[in-house]
Amino acid sequence: MARLIRTEKEVEGRYEDVWLVVEEDALEQWPAGPREIVGREAPRKTGPLRARGEARYTADIRLPGMLHAAVLRSPHAHARVQKISFEKALAAAGVRAAVGPGDVDALTDEPGYQGQAVAAIAADTFRQAVAALELVEVEWDVREPLLDPEEAVRRGQLVGETSHYERGDVERALAEADVVVEAEYRTQTVLHSSMETHQSICEWRDDTLDVYISTQFIWGIRDEVARKLGVAPDKVRVVCEFMGGGFGSKNGAGDHTYIAAELAKRTGRPVRCALTRREENLAAGNRNATIQRLTAAARSDGTLVALTGDFVNATGWDGWAASTDGPMRMLYDCENIRTTLSPAKLNTPPMKAFRAPGFVEGTFGLECLLDELAAKLDIDPLELRRLNYANSTDDRPYSSKNLMECYKRAEPHWQRRNDVRARSEGPWKRGVGLASQVWYGGGGPPSYAWVRVGSDGRATVITAMQDIGTGTATAMAQIAAEELGLPLDRVDIVLGDSARGPYASISAGSSTTPSMGPAVRAAAADAARQIVEIAAQRHDKEERVLSLAGGKVVSSDGGSWAIEEVVDLLDDAQILGKGARGPNPTGMQVLTFGVQVAEVAVDVETGEIRVERVAAIHDVGRVINPLGASSQVEGGIIQGIGHTLSEDRLLDPASGLTLNQTLDAYKLPTIADVPEIVTELLDIPDEHLTNLGSKGLGEPPIVPTAAAIANAIRDATGADVRSLPITREEMLRALDEARKKEKRGAPAAV
């Protein structure tokens, strides 16, 4: 029966109350541990299509009569368009239409960052469109850009407002503490660098708009585009069958989609608008830089008594205040905490969510600070974390938390540190560091799925979700196969089209598997129940003696019939099961936890840093596909290594122009930069969370990596590295500072 409920919904740490219709979620969780299919390694179902180059991404779609758009983006960080003329551009070869400020909300005559969209041209070919852009005549009034986040805070120029959080009596705790450490940490601007750039193709057919888009949220794009264009949501169809990476940057429709939709309307033809790589590096979003002034205070026995943090997010021209203060508030048992978070509005490209936004940055600061405190207290860093283990950080209990078990599993990796240090030789110093992880990842409703079973004995999961490369399609097929007692190769999945399946959740906030999985299991169970009912009537059995296993309906009192034999009674008609995601447990915090241990080697003469090994132990509930899960962990760590050591979106400090718009200048990790990575997932189902007990895994692995590496560098060299990325220059600066400190008589490290 459909049930209307009001529940709390969380995406990437932002909560909202929503009304939902859910089905009763009556299924018991499976027992812990690997099942027939769930919990066992499965190569991804779309693997062959992707590897063979047969998968059709948005970038590969060519519609008949399709035009190509090129976008005129502001060459200035802050400017005003005095005058714009399309006269010459419209006369150029192949040009079919032009739009400028006022024609589409996405185009502005007062750009606030380099790369903001001002005008666009549609032409027969992309080259013609780009050539015509050169003919658009613009008179610019160039203005002074504001680029310094602290100056923006002083001026009160914010995206939103400064948020304040306080619990306990911080001043008193600081006064009474035995040890206080203070430090300033900085993190840089990092680019998502999805291999498939942001792009859309829009086509109006009568009064219906088809949007082919590289997105993380098919259903959200449908809703957003319908709202902004003032059309009924059902008149917008959104398609994304294969998607070339997003990492948080593709949650919304983006300027390019509205530009394509308007140009398509004006020309009566499908229009493609795809960002070039250079546009991508300017206008596709970023992980914002942060400044973190932190204090930790403890008693001499290691008990944390106070934590404070003043955080400035360099949010950019637009965006939202990612919770850089989140880890400080959520990771440790500490009664007295005070934080402020100021999102600075700057003449720089807007931030977008990027794989655990805020928590990656905040964990770097907090977990380095904890190691600085451990050094001062002369307490083992792992022990210090255990001493301050949180059993709750607000009045809500955890739905499940096995971080202590993660720490236990980290011990063998942590114990390697004496051997690792002993392998230092010549200028190469070696060390080990660790850092803890807290993040969301519980997913939530609404999410719906259908499961169809045909007389060929094959099942199809149907839902308008997207698989952004995380392997969720395979996980959904595994869940359905498990419930239906079918081999995995007899279960397909149809996704990627809002017109071909029910509402599915966003693929952000580590939510796809925990949101969609329970709905898919419920749908498969509904189909299984119908198959059992049919078999019971056909073979004159009681339903309670029948179950599905090994592709058969099995009777406990003897006899079995192949599923296709049972369903074949219906000929071409098919069984259709429906399932919905139930609500999250009321009044509980649903979080993921983990710890990573990094081993590094640092050449103290050249500042070169090599990450040699990372062990990652995470608690994300039940693991559906250990193979895909290990890939997620490796990918998160590798992105974390880039964040820690090499990636940095560089701005010219005078003009605010981006200096590294290309992939040779913006330094992504390559295969040569990858250390040994050891993945351990606890695989303990969360007994309070849904019919699966699974949480998300997309984001947790990137959260602690930077701090673990920085702590390993401190362990190896005694140098405090407090600013990302830790380039050779920064490493040499930190080593120099440590040497000076040592000369002054203060020991640089234990």
Binding site: G47, G53, H192, S194, E196, F242, R277, S631, G635
Partner: protein, 145 residues
């Protein structure tokens, strides 16, 4: 109007001067297995073979190909590397994967049992933002099954 030999077949291509091989493959011939991710020779997603040598097709002018044999992912679909990449989960979003496999095919052709160092050297010109590198190394190490 150059004649190109692509995957063993001859194609007459009408291309303006300055058109790249990647554009020809994708836009004129519908061979969209070759991806373009940067269009300026920095990432390797567009890798194809010219006479067996990996090149970035996005910075290879189509008029400069001449009589060299072009091999794209479409001709390598039955290569054991494809199965190895799938088996080891050496792909996530998959956008860079065809280029990775094309590069890897040239490596194993020249050196069927490459060392870890050799794999890392040969594959360093193919970026993967999802971070599938450990499994790419595993796939290439175990491509013969």
């Amino acid at each position: 109007m150059p004649d190109l030999t692509i995957n063993g077949q001859t194609h007459s291509v009408a291309a303006p001067v300055g058109q790249t091989l990647a554009e020809t493959l994708r836009d004129d011939l519908g061979l969209t297995g070759t991806k373009i991710a940067c269009a300026e020779g920095h990432c390797g997603a567009c890798t194809v073979l010219l006479d067996g040598v990996p090149v970035y097709s996005c910075i290879t002018l189509v008029h400069m190909v001449g009589d060299r044999e072009v091999t794209t992912i479409e001709a390598l679909r039955e290569h054991p590397l494809v199965e190895a990449f799938v088996r080891t989960d050496a792909l996530q979003c998959g956008f860079c994967t065809p280029g990775q496999i094309v590069s890897a095919s040239a490596l194993v052709e020249a050196n069927p049992s490459p060392s870890s160092e050799e794999i890392r050297h040969a594959m360093a010109g193919n970026l993967c933002r999802c971070g599938t590198y450990p499994k790419i190394e595993e796939a290439i190490s175990s491509w013969q099954g």
